[in-house]
Amino acid sequence: MNGGQKSSITATVSKYALLLAALVLFVGPLVWMLSTMMKTKAETYKVPPTIFPEHMNFEAFERLFAVQPMMWQWIQNSFAISFFVALGAVVSSSIVAYGFSRFATKYRDKLFPIVLLTLMIPPSIMMIPSYVLFAKLGWIDTWLPLIVPAWLGGAYYIFLFRQFFLTIPQELDEATYLDGGNRWTVYARVIMPLSKPIIITTIIFAFVNSWLDFLGPFLYIKNNELFTLSVGLQLLIGQTSQDFPALAAGAFISIIPIGLLYFFAQRYIVEGVVLTGSKG
């Protein structure tokens, strides 16, 4: 009996040991970033390096905004783009998903597999063709290539909404028709009010994905007034490659919004990942 208890304690201790070892791998680099951004520039050149800053300070942030006065603009741009992407994703994908979940037509069963098929198309093969298209439309150096596609139904979100709508009983639709409602009233007054969880998941997921997007803004936007934070930071890597604290400060700023969102709405992000199986 005693021996059994002992071995279960050993098992628990070794489980925590493994968990902590992996934790160091994941959190270690982030801690190094936090430590670096609070050091003086001179301290980052010390060999061997110090783990905790000797004179904790936030001058790196001042230098960052001095070297790159556009920082505020970029942060605002990223927020604006992500906001419009999230809004568009909810509005357009839910309308399309309503079509794919509530209409009994033969076209539905022919078209929905195509929606799913587009999920399997590697995005990078579309990189050059899309660029050519946007160039022809005169959309280069605007936010349109980043925002407009979100307003025209993203396959992931259509799939998410459809799955959710299928769980809402059809009887509610029929009751609404009896009360004189039409297709649109069912969508707007019955289905959508019942779909809050999936609406929140989609808003958060679309916002996060837009914030994390690098390649889109990098390819389509050359005017630095229109840059997103990610593209701006990339410029900064080239400009101040030896100012480690300022670089760390820039990285930190770009993590904050998503980090906060994650701690308050983790459930929705985890749900979104597991449901779509997408890469966050």
């Binding site: 628990t12 489980k15 493994l18 968990l19 934790l23 791998l25 994941f26 680099p29 982030l30 190094w32 970033m33 670096t36 010390k46 061997p48 390096p49 357009s92 309308i95 399309v96 079509g99 209409f103 037509t105 195509i114 929606v115 587009t118 399997m120 590697p122 995005p123 093969i125 579309m126 990189m127 050059i128 063709p129 899309s130 050519v132 298209l133 160039a135 022809k136 025209l152 139904g153 297709r183 914030w211 994390l212 690098f214 934070l229 990610s230 930071l233 890597i237 480690f244 670089l247 760390a248 820039g250 990285a251 770009s254 993590i255 980090g259 994650y262 990942v273 597991v274 199986g277 890469k279």
Partner: protein
């Protein structure tokens, strides 16, 4: 009466899905169609008016570019070595997070955190950690008696560094595996224990077969992703040193935006599409023998 109603409803259906139809046409069908068209021309710029049909010339001359083969081999490295390593890493991490101990939710929170770091910030962090002179990694290895290693600047280390970076941001795959592990019925393990099966045996005979659909799914997603490896290589080392991280998509990017050979870039895109489709198809085919679907006899 009934028939016209049904027609009206079909019309409504198309109205509701109209956003998708427009998006699919403009942002998928048209670009894809034009890219197939341009791949057989010698157009230099997007919207070029002066171009000629050159048949399969672009596809034949792809190989003339000495970087082409190198970039293909680099990409294959990320597929052949990267995918198994990253997938195994995800599975191990998911198994750790499946431990039934107090505070496990907190570990899950932190393991996933790096996945939400924007890629540019990730690259900044990795440059700080892996910096040859002042990075914390070499400092730590120095304590163990190792010489300084130029991780990012080294021709043989840059690819492993990128694969390690992929493990760092592999949280989504970890969550998918974790969900699968939680779905394995407990009674299977209990039955195995009664039969006297121990850890490894249980893993091989129960866990692996039960989560094999998720493994296939993650492998396919990761294979597609690694075939398209670009951003990490671009930001971390600009494809260097000596083209060691120069991937296939990097080469497509260069053909289009540096060499201004858009038609060549489109031929290369189509080549990549064919390659990815082929490999995915083969993976699906051979998986039939290994993947266990519940409810299947």
């Amino acid at each position: 009466m009934m028939k016209s109603l049904r027609k009206y409803d079909t019309l409504l259906f198309f109205l509701f899905i109209m956003p998708w139809i427009i998006g699919f046409t403009i942002f998928f069908l048209i670009p894809f169609g034009t890219s197939v068209f341009y791949a057989f021309t010698d157009a230099k710029l997007p919207g070029a008016v002066n171009y000629h049909f050159v048949g399969f010339d672009n596809f034949i001359h792809m190989i003339d570019d000495p970087i082409f083969l190198k970039s293909l081999l680099n990409t294959m490295y990320f597929v052949v070595f990267g995918v198994p390593i990253v997938t195994a890493g995800m599975l191990v991490l998911a198994m750790l997070l499946n431990f039934n101990v107090k505070g496990i939710a907190l570990f899950r929170t932190f393991y996933y955190l790096p996945t939400l770091v924007p890629i540019v910030a990730t690259v900044i962090i990795w440059r700080l950690v892996f910096n040859a002179e002042f990075g914390i990694l070499n400092a730590g290895l120095g304590l163990l008696g190792f010489d300084k290693i130029d991780w990012i600047g080294g021709e043989h280390t840059i690819k492993p560094v990128i694969i390690l970076l992929q493990v760092w941001i592999s949280g989504s795959g970890v969550l998918i595996f974790l969900a699968a592990l939680k779905n394995v019925p407990r009674h299977l393990y209990e039955a195995a224990e009664i039969d006297g099966a121990a850890g490894v045996r249980k893993f091989l005979s129960i866990t692996l077969p039960m989560i094999s659909p998720s493994i296939l799914f993650v492998i396919i997603i990761q294979t597609m992703y690694n075939f398209q490896m670009f951003t990490e290589a671009l930001l971390l080392s600009k494809g260097g040193p000596n083209y060691a991280a120069y991937t296939f998509v990097y080469n497509i990017y260069k053909s289009a935006f540096t060499d201004l050979k858009f038609s060549m870039a489109m031929s290369q895109s189509i080549f990549l599409f064919a390659l990815i489709s082929l490999v995915t198809f083969v993976l699906m085919k051979i998986s039939n023998r290994f993947v266990y679907y519940e409810g299947e006899r």
